[in-house]
């Protein structure tokens, strides 16, 4: 697809995929790697968890480093619980490419599915079938609008939005034109965050003006075009927030090579430490945010296992312990998707960047 999937949770749902034709004739390419628990029930962690559980991890696509980290987390969790993880998805992050994986899970009578939906609605029919087949469904990374599932929220959507604006404010001392370099125009989570950013700006920063939102489709080339267009369109830009790893890394790369612009324009957003390290080091970027993707996968794994073992449920306030991450409480306000929040996002800057390797 035209969108380069080195992206984080920012990965575009059903990112515009051009005729590169990475999908196969079935329109659905699906990959899978299997890891069986080293020690089975013996290693069994939490109490009451059935052993030998099979959990299907269905990331947005199999080429997404961020997702791979999350899957690894999940494998770690299930290994502790004596179950196994099957990772299965496409090379494109389109809903169409994920459906066969859901079907495969149903066919394989999996106990649970942990899915990062490429499209909030498109997967619901298939997910409904899975639920009907008695499979517990856990959503992570980006949520879907389907009923009967638990959403593992990497960090409270509002928090991310506001936190990024606040951070930008500190960089530009709350004044000047800022812009957003997003992934695809259709990215649900992106748009959700941007929504909160706008609220926060309106509420707290009268002197900061959001002048433009441009889309790089998580493709370095497109992101760069969008970015440069942005720069020439808004000469007095002082800050760019890019809540997607492709966007922020491309922007950082450009700024680090155009010091004159870097001097005027501050950059922050969501990024992978591994990618951003050099720009933190050379001062192009002062700081950015993310959460630990493998923890996300790990938590999702425990949640799935507990749901599948009936040791917890989707009711508001029901609890479960997630191994090294201690105990979580499910929040299910009426009408909203039951969810747990991993925790506040980590801010990475010169002080701590070296401690992270994802």
């Amino acid at each position: 697809g035209s969108s380069t999937k080195s992206s984080s949770s920012a990965t575009t749902p059903g990112a515009a995929t051009t005729a590169a034709g990475a999908t196969t004739a079935a329109g659905t390419t699906t990959a899978a790697g299997t890891t069986t628990a080293a020690g089975t029930a013996a290693a069994g962690g939490a109490t009451g968890i059935k052993s030998g559980l099979t959990v299907y991890y269905i990331p947005k696509d199999t080429q997404n480093p961020y997702e791979v980290l999350a899957d690894k987390g999940g494998e770690a969790a299930l290994t502790e619980l004596g179950g196994k993880v099957v990772v299965s998805s496409g090379t494109e992050d389109t809903a169409a490419a994920q459906i066969p994986s859901i079907q495969a899970a149903i066919a394989a009578k999996a106990n649970a599915i942990v899915i990062a939906a490429n499209d909030p609605d498109a997967l619901c029919p298939s997910i409904a079938q899975a639920v009907a087949a008695g499979i517990k469904v856990v959503a992570f990374d980006s949520d879907n609008n389907c009923p009967d599932h638990l959403f593992i929220n990497q960090a409270d959507t509002a928090t991310i939005g506001t936190a990024e604006v606040d951070y930008m404010a500190t960089l530009v001392n709350s004044t000047g034109e800022i812009a957003i370099l997003s992934a695809a125009a259709t990215a649900t989570n992106q748009n959700a965050w941007i929504g909160f950013m706008k609220q926060q700006l309106a509420a707290k920063y009268p002197n900061m003006k959001l002048v433009d939102v441009v889309y790089g489709d998580d493709d370095p080339a497109k992101s760069l075009t969008a970015l440069t267009g942005l720069l020439s369109a808004h000469p007095n830009l002082v800050g760019i927030i890019s809540p997607t790893t492709v966007g922020i890394s491309t922007a950082a790369q450009y700024l680090s090579t155009h010091k004159d612009i870097a001097a005027k324009v501050k950059l922050t957003g969501l990024g992978l430490p591994s990618q951003m390290k050099p720009y933190i080091k050379d001062g192009t970027v002062k700081g950015f945010m993310l959460w630990n993707p493998s923890d996300l996968g790990y938590l999702a794994g425990y949640a799935a296992a507990n749901l599948a073992s009936g040791t917890t449920n989707l009711k508001d306030g029901s609890k479960f312990t997630a191994g090294k991450l201690k105990e979580y409480t499910i929040a299910a306000p009426a009408g909203a998707t039951p969810s747990v929040i991993l925790g506040p996002p980590t801010v990475f800057d010169a002080s701590n960047i070296d401690q992270f390797n994802f």
Partner: protein, 375 residues
């Protein structure tokens, strides 16, 4: 000169007189015999795919076949009109964009309170118009279809993007969205597959048993001769493009139903899969050769292999390779014989040369010759 006494392929070649993609290089009856041979090859391939599937857990059961159908449905449907277009020697790369456009439009109209029924009709009409645009540009202005449809590929997708932008429309009436996910009652056949089968039969009859079908083959083989026989070449091509547009937007409706949502990027990139299936089905890219049966078989083979590989948790990447290799084999195999024959011919000449004490410069004819013909 050449054009008078020899067919251009011959002209280009010092060695053998065989047009490329001729299924059976040795005899000229190829067009029929060779084709049959190709379809039987596909049957074998299908058997292989099924056996492979059979040795895969959870493959050989009704639900799975329902799934297989579900996943391939829209692509299969779009392959049918494209088949006819390719047989006339043209091509339509805008199919997937048309699918996206109609899905988008359907969502948009529904969002703006149109009754779904009307919305669908409107979408089909737009599909026809889009197809007509392709058709007019190709037949009336005489532009090369590959360039035109690359243009409309971008244009249609762009229009879709303008219509819905970032939005994605869901919440379609459940009665309809069910169609996308449940089989036809008392069967394990997806509705889209049902439509495909019906359409395939219609197309099969039209192409192989009706005068217009015969005309389509004639056009693909020799447009000028067709014209001289009173066949309305342009009219028929235009018709086919309109048909393609309509059918693709219908596929778009099904797609929307299956995903219960409509977005501008629906089905992006599928055009290559559709083309791949058509070519794999034994349709000559130069037109004039192929059959609906072949395309139907090719669809089945692709679908089964893909699903089996999925169930077997084979890497997604491998699946691309499989598609590519299948495609390549499907066109290279029939031509290998030709290639070898030509090489042998050349070697023969070279030897005769040695006797004649001179190392000449050997020319291999260019592949472009007949591509030119279709130009």
């Amino acid at each position: 000169m050449l054009s008078e006494t020899t067919p251009p392929q011959t002209a280009a070649s010092g060695a053998v007189q065989v047009p490329p993609t001729r299924r059976n290089p040795q005899t000229n009856e190829s067009s029929w015999r060779g084709l049959l041979r190709w379809e039987s090859a596909l049957v074998v391939a299908l058997a292989g795919a099924l056996i492979y599937g059979h040795r895969t857990t959870n493959f050989w059961n009704a639900t799975n076949f329902f799934y297989i159908g579900l996943n391939i449905g829209e692509i299969a449907i779009m392959a049918l009109p494209l088949t006819l277009i390719v047989i006339t020697g043209e091509i339509d790369l805008s199919v997937a964009s048309m699918l996206g456009l109609s899905s988008t439009l359907l969502g948009y109209l529904y969002l703006h309170g149109w009754p779904i029924g009307f919305a669908i009709v409107a979408v089909l009409v737009v599909g026809a118009i889009g197809g007509a645009l392709n058709g007019v540009l190709v037949t009336r202005l005489g532009l090369p279809s590959i360039a035109v449809t690359i243009g409309t590929l971008t244009l249609f997708r762009g229009l879709a993007e303008i219509i819905l932008g970032a939005k994605s429309v869901g919440k379609f009436p459940a009665t309809l969205t069910k169609i996308g996910v449940i089989p036809i009652p008392h069967t394990q056949i997806a509705y889209s597959v049902g439509c495909f089968v019906v359409l395939a039969i219609i197309y099969g009859v039209v192409l192989h048993a009706m005068p217009v079908g015969r005309s389509i083959f004639a056009i693909g083989l020799q447009p000028e001769a067709a014209h001289f026989s009173g066949i309305r070449v342009k009219r028929i091509k235009l018709m086919l493009y309109v048909l393609s547009g309509t059918v693709c937007s219908f596929a778009g409706v099904l797609w929307t139903m299956r995903f219960a949502t409509s977005r501008y990027d629906a089905g992006t990139g599928l055009e290559l899969n559709v083309v791949a299936i058509v070519l794999f089905g034994g349709i000559s890219i130069f037109g004039g050769r192929g059959s609906i049966v072949g395309v139907v078989l090719a669809t089945a083979v692709m679908a089964c292999i893909q699903q089996a590989l999925t169930l077997r948790n084979v890497d997604a990447q491998v699946r691309n390779i499989v598609t590519g290799v299948l495609l390549l084999i499907s066109v290279v195999l029939p031509n290998i014989a030709t290639g070898i024959h030509r090489l042998r011919e050349r070697r023969r000449l070279r030897n005769r040369d040695r006797l004649a004490h001179r190392a000449p410069d050997l020319h291999q004819p260019t592949t472009t010759t007949t591509e030119g013909q279709r130009a």
